[in-house]
Point group: C2
Chain length 125, copies 2
DNA sequence: AAAAGCAGTTTACAGTTGTAGCTTAAGCAA
DNA sequence: TTGCTTAAGCTACAACTGTAAACTGCTTTT
């Protein structure tokens, strides 16, 4: 995913992306609207603006059926790993382990997190 | 660190913060300017604007001597752990271990990182 | 067919950010 | 002291963001 695409997903737009990511299929504006209106209290116009911007940015695709259906061009995984690497670049001098060290030292990890991580980094074989 | 402070440090401003964080003491504008002019190619006016904004935001303190000296109010560690938690909240549903899992699965970790992490999460005692 | 409703498009508007110039006042050099 | 240099403060301005209204044309209802 190029820097040009992901870097431009703003906070509000991200809410729309999340919805699309969690949908199993392309969604018409009606459904997007219904959910975001409830969860975010946004006006229909606002939601339409956000969708349009995402389409211009190339991260959401629209297909014309009776009415437009929208689906994400980039996956949630792609986006989040991009965002994570971006954070590491910007504030941890590119060292991923510094990020994790920071999490550890700032108590950013729950007991469960730590248990999972022990599992994850257990020396296997 | 309140949300109001850290969330408002922008990318450009962050460059100024980094400089102040790495300085052992408060710095006069001249020194800040000299370094950022070289490393970033920014005009003096730009640098002054960024410093002023950081002061308004309360993340940089100024003390009047002959001339103003600037120093960070929040530490780099505070900031980076805040930014990390913010990322986890925004895109990993609050689960720190999901962030790390994402790093692992997207090959965001070098061999060295992994070695360090094994060490870090080794079951001790 | 006339009216109503709504998808899609265009326009709006204030706040933030990146980037920088202009003005004013004070210290230093001549 | 008289002007030059520059710190500090104020102003600028376009792009991006959050938020939304207005308009336009098609579909559906009466």
């Amino acid at each position: 995913m190029s820097d040009n695409l992901a870097s431009k997903i703003t906070d509000s737009e991200l809410e729309v992306m999340k919805l699309l990511w969690h949908a199993s299929d392309a969604l018409p504006v009606t459904e997007i609207r219904e959910q975001l209106q409830r969860s975010k209290g946004w006006e229909p116009a606002t939601i339409k603006t956000l969708i349009s911007r995402l389409v211009s940015k190339g991260v959401v695709r629209q297909e014309k059926r009776n009415v437009y259906y929208y689906s994400p061009v980039i996956s949630e995984k792609e986006y989040s790993s991009w965002a994570t690497k971006d954070l590491i670049t910007r504030i941890y001098n590119g060292k991923a382990s510094d990020l994790i060290a920071s999490l550890v030292s700032s108590n950013g990890l729950t007991k469960d997190d730590i248990a999972e991580l022990r599992e994850m980094f257990k020396v296997e074989e």
